[in-house]
């Protein structure tokens, strides 16, 4: 029984930047393959090359050498418009700073990838609503980012990432701007997505966050230093063990006590 072809197959990929006279090797021959349904955390200090690897995986950049097969297709030599199409169809992005369009409702933000995918208006609405319901924001379709908390904004961003039913969701420090409880909530969402068979690749420098992944790859000096499969920590269990979130008592309660 042959193993299925991996979803992500990176083979001896190099990325060289020309800095004046000097050549800087951000990646010096990285090979990694990720199968469908894996939840991979990429770790490494700044300057290790993890961001470069992430950009290559996200088809935002092209390798200087080596091959990258995404869902069976060689994408390392594609043109900019072709890469844009791959990003639209096959990938979903979640960023540290959410990158939602300001003064634009949640549902319109989520619809954006569908707009570039030329999905008809009616279907766009339906799918965007579904995606927002899936991240637990079914009741806030018309809220603008300014009316949402950081955690909610990141959920909108995740809904936007999954609305096109991509094969891979790429998350770049998705919890970097969130408090610890919200971070765990976001990780819970990623774990739920993973459970439905979606592949998630996450860049983080926090071991606590990497602990929720099924596999941890550590990048150092442009090479893979370690690649370990692990039993993930359950975000759901973690949340259950935390004290309930602090809710300030409503002001009217004080008045009621003072009344009699």
């Amino acid at each position: 029984m042959g193993a299925p072809a991996p979803l992500i197959d990176v083979d001896r990929v190099q990325r060289v930047y020309q800095m004046g006279e000097e050549k800087v090797y951000a990646l010096r021959g990285v090979s990694v393959s990720v199968s469908e349904g894996e939840f991979v955390a990429i770790m490494g200090s700044s300057g290790s090359g993890k961001s470069t690897l992430m950009n290559l995986l996200g088809c935002l950049d092209r390798p200087s050498a080596g091959s990258y097969r995404l869902a069976g297709r060689e994408v390392s030599k594609l043109s900019r418009p072709e890469l844009a199409e791959v990003r639209n169809r096959t990938l979903g992005f979640v960023f540290q700073s959410f990158n939602l369009l300001p003064r634009t409702s949640a549902i319109e933000n989520v619809e954006l990838p569908l707009l570039y995918g030329n999905v008809p208006t009616k279907e766009r609405r339906i799918r965007a609503r579904e995606a927002l319901q899936r991240v637990g924001l079914g009741t806030r379709l018309d809220h603008t980012p300014g009316q949402l908390s950081g955690g909610q904004q990141q959920r909108v961003a995740i809904a936007r990432a999954i609305v096109n039913r991509p094969r891979v969701v790429l998350a770049d420090e998705p919890t970097g701007n969130l408090d610890s409880r919200t971070s765990i909530e976001v990780m819970e969402l990623f774990q739920e997505l993973g459970a439905t068979g979606m592949t998630v690749v996450l860049v983080t420098h926090e071991p606590d966050i990497a602990a929720y992944a099924t596999r941890v790859i550590v990048v150092r000096d442009g090479l893979i230093q370690s690649d370990v499969r692990q039993t993930p920590r359950s975000a759901k269990a973690e949340l259950a063990s935390l004290p309930p979130p602090y809710v300030p008592p409503p002001l009217s309660a004080d008045e009621d006590e003072a009344a009699p």
Partner: protein
Amino acid sequence: MNLFQTLRVALLALRRNMLRSFLTTLGMIFGVGAVVAMVAIGEGATAKIEAQFAAMGSNLLIVSPGSAQTGGVHGGAGTKQAITWEDLKAIRTELPSVRDAAADMRTNINVMSESQNWVTSVNGVTPEFLGLRAWAIDSGVAFGQAELDARAKVCVLGGTVVDKLFPGQDPIGQSVRIRNVTFLVTGTLERKGQSSWGQDYDDIILVPASSYQGYLVGGNQKYVTGMFIVGGRTTEGMARTEKDVTALLRQRHHIQDGGDDDFQIRNLTEIANQQQQEKQTMTMLLAGVALVSLLVGGIGIMNIMLVSVTERTREIGLRMAIGATPSRILLQFLVEALTLSVLGGLIGIVVGIGGAWEVARRIDWPLLIRADASILAVGFSGFVGLAFGIYPAYRASRLDPIEALRHE
């Protein structure tokens, strides 16, 4: 690629920045508004002038006697008795470049109907007068050669005179008294309205020239104590006609070479053309200034679009990350620039029409909105928006998504 969806994306982006979008279009609004208003006002002025000269008649020369000269002292224009009935006859019959000619003598007289009186211009004219002036009879009949020969006491009234002497009545068949002579009203003139210098062409009574000289004014009946109205055959030939008439009159008056004319000729066509040209120059000048302001509006759009591209670098990066191709980004920003300029243009038309309307109302000019000027102005503003939108849009489309996403 779906153009409609691109338009939607662009409109959403513009809506998110209402104030900025509005300020950007201000240049276009006033640019197009200026073009539309200027052209409309210019056209109105031209139409007004045309109407005035139409009331005077076209391709006309006015021949009047020169000034009397006694011992080196010049009198005023028309003080000399110099042009004769024989001169008029010669002009009519001897010159091929002359279509027709008429005599026109006038004086202001108090005219009475049974119950009213009114001081008006009483003109003694020959029957060719109406044809040369291109004036039409409104009701009744004009007088002809028979009435002229018979010194008939008949008259034709202008509209203002009808209003003053016969308010609410039909004047045909009634009589008016001019210097105690009773004239029968046989016809009325079609109304022509006032000229811009306040002359009322309807405040007039026409009587046969022979009756005018016989009953109303004294003097030697050999002379025409007014002017000739001479009609040329073509507008282009008016200079020729003027030369012919001058030569004929000099010859008939025995004026030596180098001697002063004892008459003067005014070429109305020339005056009309001059006025027309002045207006046209003015209109072109104003339109030119307006076009420059459109150009400035376009530069404004480019500035704002460049600022917008820089400010929205992250947004562009995000759009690229989630699947916008470079051409789609280019198109979005082009459509944004185009939308701004055309929208500004459309609002500008409204502003321009409003401005022109206000000006027309204040100075009593006809309001002539030229559709072609409006379309041209909006088309030009769209072109300007496109031309000045290309560079910012190109910059946006060439952004590197990684760099753009990192942009602070």
